[in-house]
Point group: D2
Amino acid sequence: MVVVIKKGTDEQQLYNLKEWLKSFGVDINESKGEYETVLGLIGDTSHIDTDLLSSLAIIDSVTRISEPFKAANRKFHPDDTVVDVNGIKIGGGNFQYIAGPCSVESEEQITYIASEVKKAGAMLLRGGAFKPRTSPYAFQGMRADGLRLLEEAKQQTGMPIVTEIMDISHLDLFENVDVIQVGARNMQNFELLKELGHTHKPILLKRGLAATMQELLMSAEYIMAGGNNKVILCERGIRTFETYTRNTMDISAIALLKEKTHLPVIADPSHAAGFSRLVKPLALAATAAGADGIMIEVHNDPAHALCDGPQALTPEQFKEVVDDCNAIRDILNK
Amino acid sequence: MVVVIKKGTDEQQLYNLKEWLKSFGVDINESKGEYETVLGLIGDTSHIDTDLLSSLAIIDSVTRISEPFKAANRKFHPDDTVVDVNGIKIGGGNFQYIAGPCSVESEEQITYIASEVKKAGAMLLRGGAFKPRTSPYAFQGMRADGLRLLEEAKQQTGMPIVTEIMDISHLDLFENVDVIQVGARNMQNFELLKELGHTHKPILLKRGLAATMQELLMSAEYIMAGGNNKVILCERGIRTFETYTRNTMDISAIALLKEKTHLPVIADPSHAAGFSRLVKPLALAATAAGADGIMIEVHNDPAHALCDGPQALTPEQFKEVVDDCNAIRDILNK
Amino acid sequence: MVVVIKKGTDEQQLYNLKEWLKSFGVDINESKGEYETVLGLIGDTSHIDTDLLSSLAIIDSVTRISEPFKAANRKFHPDDTVVDVNGIKIGGGNFQYIAGPCSVESEEQITYIASEVKKAGAMLLRGGAFKPRTSPYAFQGMRADGLRLLEEAKQQTGMPIVTEIMDISHLDLFENVDVIQVGARNMQNFELLKELGHTHKPILLKRGLAATMQELLMSAEYIMAGGNNKVILCERGIRTFETYTRNTMDISAIALLKEKTHLPVIADPSHAAGFSRLVKPLALAATAAGADGIMIEVHNDPAHALCDGPQALTPEQFKEVVDDCNAIRDILNK
Amino acid sequence: MVVVIKKGTDEQQLYNLKEWLKSFGVDINESKGEYETVLGLIGDTSHIDTDLLSSLAIIDSVTRISEPFKAANRKFHPDDTVVDVNGIKIGGGNFQYIAGPCSVESEEQITYIASEVKKAGAMLLRGGAFKPRTSPYAFQGMRADGLRLLEEAKQQTGMPIVTEIMDISHLDLFENVDVIQVGARNMQNFELLKELGHTHKPILLKRGLAATMQELLMSAEYIMAGGNNKVILCERGIRTFETYTRNTMDISAIALLKEKTHLPVIADPSHAAGFSRLVKPLALAATAAGADGIMIEVHNDPAHALCDGPQALTPEQFKEVVDDCNAIRDILNK
């Protein structure tokens, strides 16, 4: 950490600051320049609050050199984490397709889609039971009933299930869920993250709409600090000024996160753009950029497509995406 | 709502779409152009899911003409909402100062600051007990103990207290809290919003870092849909590309929100910029732009300022802000 | 175009507005609702100034249904434009690599790199002579001398050259340049765009850092309105809140622009991320998303890499990118 | 400047890097940590290219501690710059109103508005002759004829004129213009900035839509590096994800720029929001935040308001803004 002290700072104040910083166990390397004094802090600075420091009157700027995340940091854990979901591996060279409907609607729907996406190559089944909706007047999901239907689809197809949690109080309902998803809007619901850190389940953590990569990693750190290292990160598009697309998929984040962390990184092309005809190009791009998996919404039945599937593909279209992504994986692995 | 249908759409599909739209009780005004067909939907479209609609293959674009928020909409409720907190009014021409420390630290600290800010003109006391922190290694607040200390400060000063809730499961602890704050990171924690809609307490709802004004109003709508109309909106800075400031205070939002909604709108200049010397100019600017109140962090004791108050003013500085804001209020009210 | 009129608008004012709108040759479809009146404008609305309209006191909102760009619009020109550069085709299924150094530095440097990238698969040579730099103290390029060296490299290798123009007054110097590049910072230098519309040279138009796709297309429209249809669009990353990368490559824009326009769309992965180890994943991703070409910085000599090539690959690394992109192209074309 | 070197870097490469850095005349303070080596560069680092440095394979990160701008930097020039326009002073406690129409349309229009805004308190007359428009089909301004009409209005009212330049080749036409404006879209048209650095006229430099404060100051530095120190900065709104307003006025930038630089900083509330009813609250807010002046669009004649003035006030409304801003100035100056 580098701390720049303003010109003309009182010596006693500077001394107090240095003593306080040393109390965190760091060494200080001081350089006095003509216009400022620079303190280089050496050692573990992760417990120093940069916001607090920045706010002090004598401080010009504070720059963190080492990343504030530790458990998630590849520097300290160079080997890829492989998350095992009932024997299905994600990360460390293992690429998986997670597919299913936006919302669980009925037993027929979810079991039909599950069997279709399984045939097409998906290894995990996704489906929304609790649905975070911008409007209180929109359909909020089948909730507990939806979880029950997902469990039935799991029994019939053998596919592990991935579904979103929206509140700690629902955690008991997720006993038979294999991967608990934290949605973009809850990425910094820290109480929820802490609680998930005490479970032993894999967590699929989606990047918030305006979250930096570092904040995503700090949210992963919340889960890992509780003892649960089974975290899968998911890039799903960030909010920018562009209006033709709902969000902007940050394709660099896929490559860069895999450099910064050992955790698996997957992509959700269904939500990144906001309409289904961009799902295929984005899925291919994310695969080409090095993702460890792809999560895609697949809908049911073209005849009912009207009320179905914003952003969703048909099973046939999903199969095409799988085939092309597999071919791209072969290029990367050759 | 205006729905543009792609050129060359099958007549039967178009018919199905129109029948489905009519099932929501809206009338349709259809115009066929050379390159597209435009459907104008007249009536209450708030139950139509534009995301779903946009995703259909035959749709070129969907534009919502009326705002999706109703209870919060000034069009339907032209008179200002005045939120009454133990006899202290906010909104409808009533301007209030909410002040106190970032975090509650001890009984001495909170009662001292409370009495100081009260003398300077604050009518409500703020203080963080549950603290949302980016890092799991940072101080998470005194939590339940902090709430207890706030209650003591309330008893000693008579000031109503404002403090942040982070999870539904803590709601029982907030029985003696006068205004429950929902932080920026929980602005779309919809389960929490729903639950707060069933309380009778005033809710101070902060705008999310990447939330549009419309999303902020939709989150207010979640609370109001549950029967609780005592919602105070708070602009606290949004995330942009700028790096010299932590966030960018959206000063236009203050004026514009008051046009779109009847709810009171206050500003939090302490968090908008990220350092204390911008608090005064931003507080004055927000007041000049028409805010209904200002929430400011004030710290304790300059001698302990080192570990205190990122972004916080001394009581004396706070007094200067109050005096100048009051003078600006006089100009606006003359 | 849909124009929503505020409730309670004076009839005479509304009449005046409608007469004025009709003077642009459009028909008006009027629907009166309880809270607003909606005017649907049918016909060519591209000459109506939506900014002006939005600002009128009686207007609630204005929504453009048809895109404001015409010459660049695929709706009116469904077939892909193929830009021919001395016999080398870009667009319409023709994919090209454009490669070369960030800046032209010497005859040896540019001819050496030209021959290396040609061997590796590049068909066009890029190199900066006029360099837009944020700081006036940074190297501004070899300027006219750099253009002369590019011409020599062209003579020796037969590769057409692509280089950036920064001001109209330099246009005469670009007589032997094959593709004139307009940089991101000049994307809305409208006087320059107009002038380039009167040349007959292909123009490589880079997207501005904060330009929407629609603005990029409107800038292309400026060039095309002058009679020059040989416009190649280039996605090179947009500015967002993320700080780990310099810019955020908008991968969706590649797929979506090709839907909105018939012009070729290429990607510049060297500038999108800001460091060289992301060039390969971004190049592969852009290819997978359907780009018509890739522009990449390649540096000279590893021994001199210190002062060379921010964001640049070695010729060997470039060759690997070409091979993998070609393999991805085969998947897309199968 | 702080340069972090990756763990495991070859000693010879590190030595070469340090020698190269020293060739810029800086001293190096080296600290070896367990996971990285940190080089602190002491001295004038403004000629070191951080982009280039960041891109080297052995570099983990580069952080500039001192700002890269020098002539514009308050650290080196603590006293406020006062720009004198024909005896009218801006900056250093001198606050001015610049007002006039969006576009110059006729002699009657411009002289009428000039006299009206002068009566209301404006000291400088603005008016667009060359108009940067997103669409090539929109009105591009009266251009040279518009400049001539502005000069006539200047002769009749004695008000200095402020108008925008769009290209170097027009510079001769600006001989009688008192303040040359550089628009947001040309803020990084570096060739234009350099040329303006060689004039002796005051330059009003608008912040680009996606320009950081530092980039704005670097563009000012381009002008100042040429010998012209008469630069007035102008905050006019930045591009964000919000859609209810066209741009987001960065109110913090006004206060913060005045801390970073000695140059005057004014605000343009007419363009920041995009509609006229937000002009007053934003003008008051900018004044309260410490701006050195306000530039506002004022239109002609309410009877012709239909085709007039997006974002513009009537002279009466402008007068109200002036009165309230003056009252706020009195509070700040008391």
